[in-house]
Each structure stands twice: as C-alpha cells, then as structure tokens.
Symmetry: C2
Subunit: 458 residues, 2 copies
C-alpha cells in the first residue's frame, strides 16, 4: 500500500482542486461551434498538464475536435493500462436556472457535504482529474508509477464521438494495452463506488403503416376498410407477451445473462424496488416477472414504444379511418444480441402482422450492441479491492443505458474495459447546477492509487 | 295514377327549376353569423311559397335559426304525412375551387346529362323542392292533394340541429302524423332511387392513459416502468377479435339485424365489393367475414381508432418511456345497441386492461343511437312502387353514417320515417361545384306524385 501517496493527496487537496478548477474554467462545449477555440485550448491544457508530469503527450487533430494522447512509463513487467476520459462538456443553458456561473467552479456546503458546482464538475472533468491527479501525486511521492499508463482524452463525447472509431483504428498500435480504464459512470448508492460491468445496446426503429391511399369516412367505410392505426396497434401489441416480455421469434435466443457471481452481487445490493419505482410514480415492475427489477434494467433486453401518432389528433372529433400510422420503437439490447439480427426479426414480425391491404416501412435510428465485461477479467477483483480499501465497500453493477464508446474501445483495441464510477446519482449531469461531491474527488484520487497498486500485481 | 299531373310537370319543368333557383340564390349558410339575415330571408321565402300553394304556413322562431311549418289539407281518411327538409347550406368556401358562382345556379351539360350546379343544389334545396313542386303541381292540376301533408323545414341541419329536439317537443301535437318523409339521402346507383331503411349510430370516446407521473429514460427504466403508449396499444388491440369483430363483452348482445327481406334485397343489389374497396386503395374487407361488405357497413357495428398520439413524435429519436397516451375511438352502432350501454362496456373493458400503475380517463364525443325503419312499415312497399313507376326500379338500402335528426323525428314524434333519396353519389355535397342532376329533380318530382297516390291508398 502506498500510505505515503495517500497522505500526500490529503495534504495537497486544495492544490489538486485548483488544477480541476483551471480545467473547468475552459468552456469546452463541443456541440456549439462558437466554443471551438475553447475546446482546442482545453486539449492543449491537458497535454501540457501531462507533459508537466513527465509524460510524452500531445494534441492529435481529427476531422472534428482533437484527441489528447499521453504515455507515462512504468515497470516493464507490469500491466499497461489506457485511461479514457472526455474533456468536452454539454452546453450550460438554460443559464437562468444556474445559481452560479457554470464555468466558474465554486464549493458549496450542503449539510455535511461539500459540492463542486460547475458544468463538467462531474461529467467528465471531475472524474477524469481523479485519475490525472492520482498519477501526479504518485509520481511526486515515488518518482514513477507502479504500472505503465497511457491516456486518451476525447473532445467529442457529448456530440456522439464522430471521430473516435477512426482515431482508434489509426492509433491502434500506439494505444495497445492490457486494460482500458474509464471514469464516466456512477457510484452505487452514496458511499459505494462501482465498477459497471454491463451496458445495454440500442436499436431504434421508426415504423410507418399505410392502409390504402387515403383517409376514409368511418360512416361510409367503417368495418370494411383497413385502418392503419388499428393495424399498427395490433402489430405492436402482438410483440408483447402477457408475462411482460417481448413475444417475437428469436428475440431472446442469443441473450447472455451475466455470470452467477455478478447476479449474486446484484441480488445482495441494498436496492428497494418499490422506492425506485415509487420515485417516478410507478409501483409495479412492468417487465419479465422471472427477473428482479435490477436484472430487468441492467441485463434483460427491453422494447419500448417511444412515440406513436396517426389519424386525427387535434381537439374535437373527426370520424376518420386513417390511412397512415407511425410509431418510434426502441430496444435496449442485452449482451449477446446482434442488433442487426434483432432488427431483421423485428421487421419480419411486424411485416407478418400486416393484412393484405397494408404495407409497412422502417427507418433506422441507432444501432449499438450491448457491452459486458469479460466474466473472467483478472483485473476486476483487484480493482474492486482497491476501491474498497478507500471507501469501505465497492461493488459491480450494470447500467440499462448505452455508451457506444465502450463498444468501440473494447472492439477496436481488442481489450476489456473497467468502468469505474465515483459520481453520485444526483449529480445533475447535463442539467443546471451540475455538481461533483468533494468526497468523490478526494476519495476518488486515493482509490486510484490503491487500484494502480493492486493492478500492478496482476 | 295521376298521368295528368305527371304531364303537367313535364310541361312546366322550366318554371319549377326557376323556383328552385330562387331558393338557391339565397345564401342560407347557417354556421356563419354573417349570413343570419339570408337564413331568415330563406325561411320567409319558403313560408310564402307554401302559402301561395294554399297552405297554412309560417316561420317559427327558435333560439337559433327559425323553422318553417306548413299544412295542406287532404281527405280526412287518408294518411297524414310530415315532410322534413332543411333549407340551410354548408359554406361555399374554398371559393377558388368553384367553376361558377356557388349562389348563382347554372345548368351544365356533361355528356348526356345536365347538372344543376350550386351550393345546396343537392343538399338539401334541390331535394326539398322535388316534394314542394310535386305538391304544387298536384294542386294546380287536381285542386288538392290525395293525402294530408305537413311540412317542416329546418335552418340548422348543417350546424348540428341544436334547436330541433326542443322544437319537436313543443310542436308535437301540431306535427302529429302517420309517417315522416325525408328527402336528404342518396340513390342506389345511377338510375335507382332508394329508400334508406337503416342508419348507424355513433359513440365517440377519447381515451387517455397515464402511467406514473413523468416521462422516463428508457435506459434507466426500460422494462421495469409501465409505458403509457404500450399499455394503450395493448388495451386497444385487445378489443379486436381475430375475425375482424369487436372483442369486448356485450358488444354484440343487442344488435338487431335487418329483416330477412331487407338482407335479401341488399344481397341482390349489383354491388362490386372489389371495386368499392379498390376505389379507395383497399382490396380486402377488414370486418367480420361472416357478413357481406354492404352488411358490414350498413348493419354491423364498427369500432375505429380515429387518432392516436403519445410520447415523442417529432423528427429524430428520443428514448423516452411516455407517461401519457391518447386515442380517439369511435363506434358506429347498429340498430338495437344502446349507446350508453356500449359506452359503459367499452370503458369497463379498457379499465380492465390497465395494469396497477396506470389510470385511464374518458371524454365523450357524440352519442347517437342507430335508427332502423320498422320492419312492418305499411308505407314502405307502396312508396317503393311509386318510385319504381317513375324510374323503372327502386330499392331499399342502408347507410353506415349517422343522421341524428332521424332519431329525433322518429323518437319525439313517435312515428316511423321513410328516407327517400334521389341524389347521386357523386353530387359533391359540402364540396366545391356541388351539383344535382336535372333528372334527379325532374324524375324526383314525378316520383313524389306517384308516391303520394300510393300512400293515399294505405
């Protein structure tokens, strides 16, 4: 254990906080061209910060905002980790809902806690800097790191990462490593850092049903003429099983559930399903009854109708038989499911529900596979231990959302990833008054010191 | 037979047409307050026209536009008929789509046919005047009618007849009669006048499903949280049987099918279901397979989703779990069905489909029972014979639409009605370039002479 490094972090917390504040003050909003200069300045600041620690680091242009790549040496026989973070942020608006300048970080006392309040305080500048400052403190005390570390900082994550895949392909050899570390996810609860071991994928489809070539009067044609809205609702309803699952052929065929170890960990988590659903006005889990709510969200594929429209939708009434009906349908995919195969099965099922008079068309909206950490990843247990040494506990978890960059990092570089999260659930990321707990920052840095020591032994 | 009256009509056709033209030139648009003076002038013209024929006639104020009531004497032992028509018209706009002034009637030759082109030429001034001019011609030749005739002309039919029921209640004794005659429906085909013996009723319901108290992110809640759009589509789909019918309990319980005589007549009609559906881009009857297309439309109740909306419906994609979903649903009701009973059964069924987390609310949009002529109406066969004597053929038919005034006339006055139609299907009523065939007008008048003679013998 590196008790000396941990003590050094405690002693120099304010200096590390000032470093984070410098980064936050650069308004690196990637989606708005007006901030392109700030985004570039932010990349330069990071490269210089890495260089000041002794890293070989530089800003790398892309067709969009630049990447920052850096390398710090370590023992030749130790693992080589690549740390990924993003330095761009969401726009700050609506500005009038902020209680302070979004790009002038402040510390705010809230009860026993202290919040760092600013755009990017949590997502992802605060999280990114836990690792950077952990490395700097380590080097300041010991002269070098216990393992080889590379850095990859992206400036377009909040804009859909348009340049990432191409850059990874071009820099594949340089970024060759044993493990990817990412710090852009949540804790489990208030005091338990988490390693996210699965993400769901996404498949979006817009469905348009056409019945004949015009709207009709229900008095003249009601019963005899196919109604596009009726046909669409029938087709969508046919996809849902009475047990809460998805009812079309092949949907669950390739689903890989997490290993028993993960499911046991999740079952042991203090999770109150009633409170979770009650917080959003629901009470009864709507998914497959055979799975817990956490499994329904983290590990089971879902199908949601995100929107539907057709026929007369204005005030009053019009007794029309609509010729057109539309729905936006999305699937959250589980590990093992091939998005293209699910898309084909979905479209085949909907087509099979069309009566002779109706046609259906589909438009694509998103296609990302799920991601799951390797069940036998040798770095997982040491990393969990390193986190627990600082916080008292740690856990794995899943997330029901989709982070396409993880699939790219994993797939293109060919190495597994650990998604380590210190962010609390209530950090208001993407919203006004975004915050990061000072304890997340402070304990996060110290946890990384432990994790580096533990990973170095693998 | 009154060959002398028929010959007189042939000889004086132009004079009768000029009478219709006078009526058409008064732009009696009931829905637009700017025309209120014209509507009143139109009522006065009709009262004076009836008075000039020897009728006791007057304009009767209502809280809306006035009624016109008139009485012509006849033999004491002959039946007493009440003729209903409406003198108000739909607005003429869009004016730029008319090929002539909508309120300056013209005769237009189209192939072998001559069309009277104007707003109201068919609906309902032309149709109404076939009866008025038939009575005038009869009196001019014979001095009096073969049966007692009363007239009721309404000025608000195109605005939903808001004053009709109250007026009928107040004038119930004065309007006491043996039979109501209405001339506001279509012919069967090009050369066969029709007596419509059934109309469907209407029940409109707006359905709003609420799941919890806010929209949710499908990544964080997908599977576990109830989705209002999914629940609504499931509930609507559950109402439809695989055979094309309506699947909730009690829906068909009280349906009274038309008598075998009517169904045989309809089966014998030259009707090409493929051409009927093909004309609107459909090919396969969507209703109950056990019934013909005409029966599906005229005599079987239907359920149509007229509109549906919920969730994200703009361009692009949003992976939301909607908390709200809405549909407008309407039923065309068959004879025997009680609209309030069907509404209660529908609402009970939809409620039964709600999972624990969802609530549903309903809003009313229309509630009219169906109407069917009495199976043993003694005037039906003589009236059909009178029509056939002029046109060579005649038939009964149904209509899938809803005409609430018929229920009011029938229900409040307590006498059956015959709906006699000379209007061709392509008359463009309510649309630009509305027309009435000169043959509809000419033969219509002569047919009424026959019908009056035939009814007088009952």
């Amino acid at each position: 254990m590196s008790a000396d490094v941990l003590a050094h972090i405690d002693a120099t917390l304010d200096q590390r906080l000032q470093s984070l504040f410098q980064l936050i003050r650069i308004p690196s909003v990637s989606t708005d061209p007006a901030y392109a200069g700030d985004v570039a300045r932010c990349a330069a600041w990071l490269a210089e910060t890495l260089q000041a620690m002794g890293a070989e680091a530089s800003v790398r242009p892309t067709t969009g905002h630049p990447m920052v790549v850096g390398h710090l040496p370590g023992p030749a026989d130790a693992p080589h980790v690549l740390f990924y973070g993003h330095y761009d942020v969401q726009p700050a608006d609506p500005l009038e809902l902020w209680n302070s300048d979004p790009f002038e970080p402040i510390l705010r006392k809230v009860g026993d806690e202290t919040h760092i309040v600013a755009r990017g305080a949590s997502d992802d500048k605060g999280a990114l800097m836990t690792f950077v400052e952990a490395c700097r403190a380590y080097i300041e005390v010991k002269g070098s790191l216990p393992l080889r570390v590379s850095f990859l900082f992206e400036g377009e994550e909040e804009s859909g990462s348009p340049s990432l895949a191409a850059f990874l392909e071009s820099a594949k050899d340089e970024l060759d490593c044993d493990l990817v570390l990412v710090c852009d996810t949540d804790m489990w609860g208030q005091d338990t850092p988490a390693i996210t071991t699965s993400l769901r994928g996404l498949l979006g489809q817009e469905v348009s049903v056409t019945a004949g070539d015009r709207d009709l009067h229900s008095g003249m044609f009601g019963n005899a003429a196919a109604n596009a809205v009726t046909v669409l609702t029938q087709a969508l309803a046919s996809m849902r099983s009475p047990e809460g699952g998805v009812a079309f052929a092949g949907f669950y065929d390739d689903v890989q559930m997490p290993p028993a170890e993960r499911r046991a960990e999740w079952a042991a988590l203090p999770f109150d399903a009633a409170a979770f659903l009650g917080g959003v006005g629901r009470a009864v889990p709507a998914g497959e009854a055979a799975y817990s709510v956490l499994e329904q969200i983290w590990a089971r594929p879902s199908c949601e109708i995100n929107g539907i429209w057709g026929g007369y939708t204005e005030p009053g009434f019009k007794t029309v038989i609509p010729a057109k009906a539309h729905a936006k349908v999305s699937f959250r995919l589980a590990a093992g499911q091939d998005p293209e195969k699910i898309r084909a099965a979905f479209q085949a099922h909907i087509r099979s529900q069309m009566p002779a008079d109706c046609t259906v068309e589909f438009a694509d909206h998103g296609l990302s596979p799920a991601w799951a950490a390797q069940a036998d990843n040798p770095y997982l247990a040491p990393a969990l231990a390193g986190l627990a040494a600082e916080w008292g506990s740690s856990t794995t978890c899943g997330t029901g959302g989709t982070i396409p960059i993880i699939g790219a990092l994993n797939g293109i570089l060919g190495v597994d990833a650990l998604l380590v999260g210190f962010a609390r659930f209530d950090n208001r990321i993407h919203s006004p008054n975004e915050k990061y707990d000072l304890s997340s920052f402070h304990k996060g840095m110290k946890a990384w010191v432990n994790v580096m020591d533990d990973l170095a032994k693998v």
